[in-house]
C-alpha cells in the first residue's frame, strides 16, 4: 500500500494525473460546490489548473452549473462578465498566472460595473515549492491590489463555503469582481508530494 493510500482523509484522485498527480480533499471540493450553489452561481468558466481541477471536474460531473472551458484566462473572465450581463451569476476559475493575463478585462469590468467571482489557484506566500510557480505567485495579488479588487486568501478549509457566499454578496452589492485565492493546503492533502 502506498503512503498516499494510508491517509484517512477522503481524497479525490484526479483522473489522468498519474504518479505526478495530486489528490484533492473531497470535503474541500464539496465545500466549494456547496458555496457556489448557496451563492446562486450558475455559470462557470475555467482554464484547467492542477490546484482547482478537482473543483472544475466536480462542477462538470454534477451538471447543474453550466461549465465552459476557455482558451485563455482573460478570455474566460470576459465570458463570465458577458454571462453576468445577461443575468447569470458567474465564476471564473484559474491559476494565479491567469490574473496576470487579465488586468485589462478586470479593469473594464470595474469601470463598466460588470463583475464576476474569481477563484484563483496559488497565492503569494503559502505552500509554494517550485520555481516554475515563481511568476504565478508573484503576479496575482499585486494585480488585484493595483485594481482595488477585494480578495480573500483562504486558510481554513472550513471557511470555503462561507467565504464564497459572502463574496457573492459583495460582488452583487458593490458590483466589483472578488478574488478568492486558494493556497495548496486548503484543497490538497497536506504533506503530499507536489
Amino acid at each position: 500500500m502506498s503512503k498516499q493510500q494510508k491517509v484517512k482523509t477522503p481524497l479525490r484522485n484526479v483522473a489522468g494525473t498519474g504518479k505526478a498527480g495530486v489528490r484533492h480533499r473531497q470535503e474541500a471540493l464539496e465545500s466549494f460546490y456547496d458555496g457556489f450553489k448557496v451563492a446562486g452561481i450558475d455559470f462557470a468558466v475555467f482554464l484547467p489548473d492542477s490546484m482547482l481541477d478537482g473543483v472544475e471536474q466536480l462542477i462538470i460531473e454534477r451538471g447543474d452549473i453550466e461549465a465552459y472551458q476557455c482558451s485563455r484566462e482573460d478570455e474566460g473572465i470576459a465570458m463570465a462578465m458577458g454571462a453576468f450581463l445577461v443575468g447569470k451569476r458567474p465564476v471564473a476559475l484559474m491559476e494565479g498566472s491567469g490574473i496576470g493575463m487579465s488586468a485589462l478585462i478586470l479593469a473594464r469590468g470595474i469601470v463598466q460595473k460588470t463583475p464576476t467571482m474569481l477563484i484563483i489557484g496559488h497565492n503569494s506566500t503559502l505552500g509554494e515549492r517550485y520555481d516554475y510557480h515563481g511568476a504565478t505567485r508573484l503576479v496575482a495579488e499585486p494585480v488585484l491590489r493595483a485594481l482595488d479588487i477585494p480578495y480573500h486568501v483562504l486558510f481554513d478549509p472550513g471557511d470555503i463555503r462561507k467565504v464564497i457566499v459572502e463574496a457573492q454578496a459583495t460582488i452583487e452589492g458593490q458590483r466589483l469582481p472578488f478574488g478568492i485565492l486558494v493556497p495548496s493546503h486548503v484543497i490538497r492533502e497536506i504533506g503530499e508530494s507536489r
Binding site: E66, R72, D74, E75, L85, T114, R175
Partner: protein, 197 residues
C-alpha cells in the same frame, strides 16, 4: 465596400439584440442607427467576442452580435476555437477587415491581413462551419440576412475599404456612458427575461 453601409444593414436587422462593438469607427453607425440598451460600445480589445460568447451561452434564446475589426480579432484569435467548441447557435460574429488599424493614429499602420492573414480561414481552422468572406455590399446583405435567420455560430468577414475614416476628427458623438453601460445592459436584459417568463 464601405463599412458604414454594412453596419447600417446589420442595425436594420438587429431588433434590439445584445451587441458588443470593438473599439473604433464601427461604433458610430450603430449608435446613430439606434442607441439600444443592450449595447456595449468600444469594448477593450480583444474582449468583444469573448464577452459576446458569454452572453450567447447565458442567453441562448436571443441572438447575440459581436462587431470586430481585423485588429481586435487578431489580438485574441483563440476565442474562435472556444466558440467552435461550444457552437452557440445564437452567436453572430462580424469582422470588418480593412487591413489596417484605421482608427488609430494616422490609420496607416497595417494589420497582418494586409500581408495575407485570412480571418475566415482562421475560423475554419478553429472548427467553425458557418463562415463567409464578402467583398461587395449585395453579397454582404445576403449572408448577413441569412445569419439572422439561420443557426449559428456565424463568422462573417467583410472586406471593407478605408473610406469611413473622417478626414478630420470631430467631437465625440457616442453615448458617453461606459461607466453606466453594465448597469443599463444588465437591467435591460433582466427586464426582458422577466417579461418573457
Amino acid at each position: 465596400m464601405n463599412r458604414t453601409e454594412v453596419l447600417r444593414h446589420i442595425a436594420s436587422l438587429r431588433n434590439g439584440a445584445p451587441m458588443i462593438i470593438s473599439p473604433g469607427l464601427a461604433n458610430y453607425p450603430i449608435a446613430e442607427a439606434k442607441d439600444e440598451p443592450l449595447t456595449i460600445y468600444n469594448m477593450d480589445m480583444p474582449y468583444t467576442t469573448p464577452m459576446a460568447l458569454g452572453m450567447a451561452l447565458g442567453w441562448p434564446e436571443r441572438k447575440v452580435i459581436s462587431i470586430e475589426g481585423d485588429g481586435s480579432l487578431l489580438a485574441g484569435p483563440g476565442v474562435l476555437s472556444t466558440v467552435a467548441r461550444y457552437r452557440p447557435k445564437n452567436l453572430l460574429m462580424f469582422v470588418f477587415d480593412n487591413g489596417a488599424y484605421l482608427t488609430t493614429g494616422s490609420g496607416k499602420a497595417p494589420t497582418t491581413t494586409a500581408f495575407g492573414t485570412d480571418i475566415e480561414q482562421l475560423g475554419r481552422a478553429a472548427g467553425l462551419q458557418n463562415t463567409r468572406t464578402v467583398h461587395d455590399l449585395d453579397a454582404a446583405k445576403d449572408v448577413i440576412s441569412a445569419a439572422f435567420t439561420q443557426i449559428g455560430p456565424w463568422l462573417i468577414v467583410a472586406k471593407v475599404d478605408k473610406q469611413d475614416r473622417p478626414a478630420e476628427r470631430g467631437p465625440h458623438t457616442l453615448p458617453m456612458y461606459v461607466y453606466e453601460a453594465g448597469l443599463i445592459f444588465h437591467r435591460a436584459a433582466l427586464k426582458e427575461k422577466a417579461a418573457k417568463k
